[in-house]
Assembly symmetry: C2
């Protein structure tokens, strides 16, 4: 049982709150039972250490058993130690330190299935939005998420929490300049669809056939001109009432599900 | 200029953080420029007082000018006073105390247009989710939102912020028992569609013709059995990848937009 909230180990785990430390060590934290459960289930080889309070070990016995089964290091800690390690106000007694398996854009593009659906975060800065978009991409059956170097770090604790495990469910490429992302996708025949409130094409009228990627901009000011101009079409979600806009995660989910449904119809009829 | 953060006025405004005080006084706060702008624009007759710091008065001159034009009480306050009045960490210098115009369910149902789209929050507890659902309902062109007495108070500061003004864009009925809501809707010929992960009908296969209401449950455990059973159909959003679920606001937005698109097609062809 780890009991000292001021130990070097606690400080090292706590330091993963900083992007620079995550980048240098290649490690990050997954906080709370849902994120930890999905990490243990989908990527046990990337879980370095699991920390659990005695109370949580009882309540989430399935997660701890799965972790022991996978021969992971499971450490019992006091609630004080866990709180000192984490950002979350209520990590609910469970946290895992994970390794990030870096995936190169070219490897990811080479491994795309036929008729792929891709989601690109071009300039998403809000952690909750980024995590929710990744969760939405997962739910819509996207084959790849690519996150530009101008976007928020997806290994930050709040993004990881907001993905609710989706971080481990599909390939995610990070830290690539947006120009490289767009060129790479275009080179393998993926059409680029900008999701933008300034788009001329309404989502229900958009051509969602064939391989394509949704390119999502900043939550406050959308896509940069040169990114929008580099895309094959600029598409907006129709606003029927008086709302000024939808938030980024909602708009992205509608776009991704539009593609998912178009693909479902193609597969049924094909 | 109001300068004393310990004055009785400041305490009275601050007390609107409590549901009981909002309920007794019929007043609530709208915090931040977006919420205040929409209140002044769509419901100036319900804005009782507007509080603004000198800096925000410069930055958001349009809002202050519109408020003066509408003959509203505009009070200059110090940042300390505004912070003492508000819940938001960063109210960005602007806040309005508003009156809630209570709308009865029977009046709201009587005023429904032909072919209405309705959104029912049966047991939504999270303020951010509730606000985002109301924003989504607005964007999808819903004609009415009905919030059960078991749901979160939509006049709480966090819900108001999350609606980004949609609170003033469409009729909202609050504090009604869910049984009364469902009976009332059924009596005026509105079909009840439960949105629930346990549904047998997939959203793309659902019949979204004619007057209908989406009934949304709790973010953690969905709809209560008796509510689900009282609905005409139980519909789920398909999950294509490995995600366990979508969050409530995303699922609700997909459902509401499904209805909006079905209605758009009806109106085009009709």
């Amino acid at each position: 049982m780890l009991t000292n909230p001021r130990s070097d180990r606690v400080k090292a785990v706590r330091a993963l709150s900083r992007r620079s430390v995550r980048s240098r060590t290649g490690q990050f934290r997954a906080e709370g039972p849902q994120a930890v459960r999905e990490a243990v289930r989908f990527a046990p080889e990337h879980v370095r250490d699991l920390y659990v309070t005695p109370e949580a070990a009882d309540r989430h016995g399935d997660v701890v058993a799965a972790a022991r089964e996978a021969k992971l290091w499971v450490h019992e800690v006091t609630p004080d130690v866990l709180a000192a390690m984490c950002d979350a106000e209520h990590p609910q007694g469970l946290m895992a330190v994970c390794r990030w398996a870096r995936l190169s854009l070219s490897d990811a593009l080479g491994a795309l299935p036929p008729d792929p659906l891709v989601c690109v975060l071009a300039h998403v800065r809000d952690p909750g939005n980024a995590g929710t978009v990744i969760r939405g991409a997962d739910a819509a059956g996207a084959d790849l998420v690519v996150v530009s170097d101008a976007s928020v770090d997806v290994l930050g604790p709040k993004v990881v929490r907001s993905t609710v495990g989706s971080l481990w469910h599909l390939p995610i490429v990070t830290e690539v300049p947006i120009e490289t992302i767009l060129e790479g996708l275009r080179a393998v025949g993926v059409r680029l669809l900008a999701a933008d409130g300034a788009g001329q094409t309404l989502l229900p009228d958009a051509d969602l056939g064939g391989p394509h990627a949704w390119v999502l901009g900043n939550e406050a000011w959308g896509l940069e001109d040169q990114v929008r101009d580099a895309c094959d079409d600029v598409i907006r979600v129709p606003i029927h009432g008086h709302a000024e806009s939808l938030n980024l995660a909602m708009a992205a989910t509608l776009c991704l599900y539009g593609s998912a449904e178009a693909r479902r119809r193609r597969r049924r009829s094909g």
